[in-house]
Point group: C2
Chain length 229, copies 2
């Protein structure tokens, strides 16, 4: 096999939480790769060729073959490098199913109301989105409290932590921009403690979220949504 | 271990395509189970206890432990009974990632416009939903044509076929109720042929979709949506 083909490449964009999630997964497994920054207003031919369905980052190129969709990439990374680095998914089939269940919960139930809350002006709609967010956050709070572990499925960062990971830095950023707290230590003690532990974990320290650069970007995004009404 | 605990139970509802998908997966693996029909207007305490997050069917009970979310259950069934019956996911990590990619495509990109098309009155909005549906169906048409296999990942029903499976009987039903064709043999030759093969495959013959009973139910659903405007 050509050495060039063996190389792993990651097509990403600095501000994408989905790309960061993949970087964290690759860090857990200790995989080396070439990182290619995309300009999403002028996507490269390579990106369009490798992800014609979604035309989005992240895309992982493995032996020249593309994998898209961050949750799919994370599971792939765990399986393709199953014998090295940390374990992202548990080994037990039931525990694996639970991890996948919570990944879908974050995607389908938690992220939409938090995004709605962030992109809505103060008022009835924002309050409703806040209520819906708090209700789903409460589910995770109980899950962590009952589990009694450092992370969602054990003592190191795994699949659910990675899926929820953006929340650890995105929610505080949203709170700063909106000027209202969503995840307080009083109401969400386990979740708040998890956020701190996650931000201090090895993969995240390896690729820290670029919060200072992200704040003006998200501020502009919120303003654009408010203008659209 | 108590014999009672070893038993597999499935909480379902006769009209749910998600429940049918799980029945097909259990059939592929040759797993015996007790089926419990739920009345969704009067959910059992067992269902609410086993799926407090979504309060929905299907729920699979395995050694007394619940698994919810049909796509999660299907992967669990494949892993929990990895050494019996057919293979639902391929063995190769890259092929597994591709299967998971297409499952998410069906969930995120294909199902929403088809449902929108079905629940919208004739006019501009329905035409837009039809256009969006056709665009995504075209992606699957090409995937099947290029793959050149009986099913999406080989010569027997696998993960992608199961996820897309409802389409094989739901789309013809929608077409009959709306009075317009969506998936014609001329435009979608590979997909049309797949629909026929899927409906004739062993798991589907084992648990055929109750089309005659479903038609009045879906007709009433469409009428309710049209009334709401």
């Amino acid at each position: 096999m050509d050495h060039q083909e063996e190389k792993v490449k990651l097509f990403g964009m600095w501000a994408s939480p989905y790309v960061l999630k993949v970087k964290w997964a690759l860090s857990i497994k200790g995989v080396e790769y070439e990182y290619l920054e995309e300009d999403l207003r002028n996507k490269s031919d390579d990106l369009l060729e490798h992800n014609p369905v979604h035309k989005k980052v992240p895309v992982l190129l493995y032996h020249g073959k593309p994998v898209a969709e961050s949750d799919v990439i994370v599971e792939f990374v765990d399986e393709a490098w199953s014998h090295r680095g940390g374990r992202i998914l548990p080994g037990d089939p039931y525990e694996r199913a639970m991890a996948r269940f919570w990944v879908r919960f974050v995607h389908d139930k938690l992220s939409p109301p938090i995004w709605k809350w962030f992109t809505t002006a103060p008022g009835e709609d924002q309050e409703a989105a806040r209520g819906a967010s708090v209700e789903q956050l409460q589910v995770l709070e109980e899950l962590l409290a009952v589990g009694g572990k450092e992370f969602f499925a054990g003592e190191s960062v795994g699949l659910v932590d990675l899926s929820l990971g953006a929340m650890a830095y995105v929610v505080p950023m949203y709170e700063e921009i909106v000027g209202v707290r969503l995840v307080t230590e009083e109401r969400f003690p386990s979740l708040s403690a998890w956020m701190g532990r996650f931000l201090g974990s090895p993969p995240v320290k390896d690729h820290p979220p670029p919060v200072e650069r992200l704040i003006p970007r998200y501020r502009a995004m919120r303003e654009a949504f408010l203008k659209m009404g």
